[in-house]
Symmetry: C2
Amino acid sequence: MSHFSIKPASSSTAARVGSVVTPHGTFTTPEFMPVGSQASVKTLDPVDMNRTGVQIILANAYHIYLRPGTQVIEAMGGLHRFMSWDGPILTDSGGFQVFSLARLGRINDSGVAFRSHIDGSEHFFTPELAVEIQEKLGGDIIMVLDQCHRHDLDTEGTMEAMHRTHRWALRCLDHHRRKDQSMYAIVQGGMFPELRKESAQFLASLEFPGYAIGGLSVGEPKAVTWAMLDEVIPELPTDRPRYLMGVGAPEDIVMAVAKGVDLFDSVLPTRVARHGAVFTDFGRLNLKNTAFASADQQLDESCDCHTCRTFSLAYLHHLFKCEEMLGYRLATLHNLRFMARLMQRIRDSIDQGSFDSFLNQFLESYRTSNESVRLEQKRKWLKAKASPVGTDPVL
Amino acid sequence: MSHFSIKPASSSTAARVGSVVTPHGTFTTPEFMPVGSQASVKTLDPVDMNRTGVQIILANAYHIYLRPGTQVIEAMGGLHRFMSWDGPILTDSGGFQVFSLARLGRINDSGVAFRSHIDGSEHFFTPELAVEIQEKLGGDIIMVLDQCHRHDLDTEGTMEAMHRTHRWALRCLDHHRRKDQSMYAIVQGGMFPELRKESAQFLASLEFPGYAIGGLSVGEPKAVTWAMLDEVIPELPTDRPRYLMGVGAPEDIVMAVAKGVDLFDSVLPTRVARHGAVFTDFGRLNLKNTAFASADQQLDESCDCHTCRTFSLAYLHHLFKCEEMLGYRLATLHNLRFMARLMQRIRDSIDQGSFDSFLNQFLESYRTSNESVRLEQKRKWLKAKASPVGTDPVL
């Protein structure tokens, strides 16, 4: 059975509906993957995740390698059994975390040295080790190790990192043994159109079962993100899933689907939920807003999630004001249900040939935050990630 | 229909099985009430609470009066609707919190002045106001306002507080309008046997539908707790529920049931859960113990809770090590299910005439912490309660 199949498209955009077959079930695309970095989608258990309608989750090799350690997961029979989630899992290779979260050490062709963000201990990742870790974790889809970098790196540096990413991709392919797992390549090339094109062409020639686009949505202006995507997508094989890493804002997902992206992941929906920001078709609401103190209606009248069906805005507001942990879970449940419903509506409208009008309608009603505000938030977040875990239990 | 009825007892102890009828259903006794101080049993939603088998919960007039405020709850149709819990609720009057958590001001016969532990704002509670607040919250069982104090207060001070508590009880009775709610009296008298006896006798003469025993388990040695209980219980009417406030350690509950107590509440099972301490028949386990890092068995083989049926000790250990919020909820679910099962086993053994042997067996296998360690923990906790909320999200 082929890993990926696409339904006949009927949209004037590049949007398509597909399905991805994995050892833990088939999921439909376009799809958004919630992030369970440390083998837990923050605040939720597997029953909750099933209730939101999520089809596949992402876990992180970097975090899990550090804690509890690859050996523990292997001894427990793999990540699925460890966290009691029997749906598909994609594991990230740790490339992004090594370059953003850890204290970076020497990088050369053999691999990358880094210090743990938890205890400062020294580690060395090679492409081969990244594959081995992910084989032991047992995710259904695994990622090659790539070299990530700042979005404003110069041409020379970006080219060097890209070529290294390509050499590492070849070594990952060569080292990968567990053929029940599908390994995806990661396109790099920074903000340089010609490098993006080259990276996509080179990796496409290697016949990976899926292609991720890395190094985007890392602080660059939105227009640049879309321009890079426009370089990459035409070079990728039509019959393989395309995964835009780290993108999770509803308005960005809708746009990227129109450009032909199939898969997304981001901590955004779960992270902002723990700060009281909840998604609706009209943009985000802030549950801490005092306007909700006596609001006897549900958060989102059109939503069927546990939170919306059970509690009033006034109660959710109260939980956030009192820093009651239940609030973090209820907001997370809502945001993931919103994402699942959004992806379902995207798939349905593509199926029905009405994605163009869905796209326009959605973007018209969804009020987004100002781009400069957003970039500032992103900078703060990337900075906060660099400090030790545990200082802010909500982040 | 009478508020309380007792099944014929068949134990050589004073233990009895009863049932309490409320507007939101009947619950069986002996029973333990989890605490939802701020209209939330920390980390759990009503579905979770139903899954644990809890029959009745306690909410706190002091906390809810301060946040979100009595008017909000009244406008939302009462506490049951606000928090989506349609089982019985007992609300505490706030007496204990005013004397332990708030910054205490002037006390005289008219009432007690205090400053909010949240923002320092000034408030004045009278017995009448405590009743009115609780009428607006709409709990099924409400409590009189009592004057609480340190366990080592002298005879004169203790006697003065007790007599004031008695005068306030009369005023609460006089002011109480909502006859669908049952209002319980609170016996005080400190650690003085003759005062305890006098308090119980006086309040018993007033024909309250239920009787609480307050001011115990507040730092005094366990032997003194039991001695006071032995003074009070014989003076209370047999046909009314007896509620020992603030007691929640499994070994203490079993002992107090043997002395004829019907109802308990404490934050202990939920609070220690958030620190990784989980109950078993052999005492508490600390989930952070590194011995559990690779433990592929369930926390408690005899437990049927969601946590035990779904996750390994190794996973729970991992969640606590990583400070994942899911861990706090899973440990809370287990501890409340343990309490519900413990109370069920207590009721069954009383029913079957085997409570004496259950008591001995339980106390023999349940390893408790050393009394001096426990008193030190209690002191720390009472002290921590006096600092502003929000400094430790786990407490």
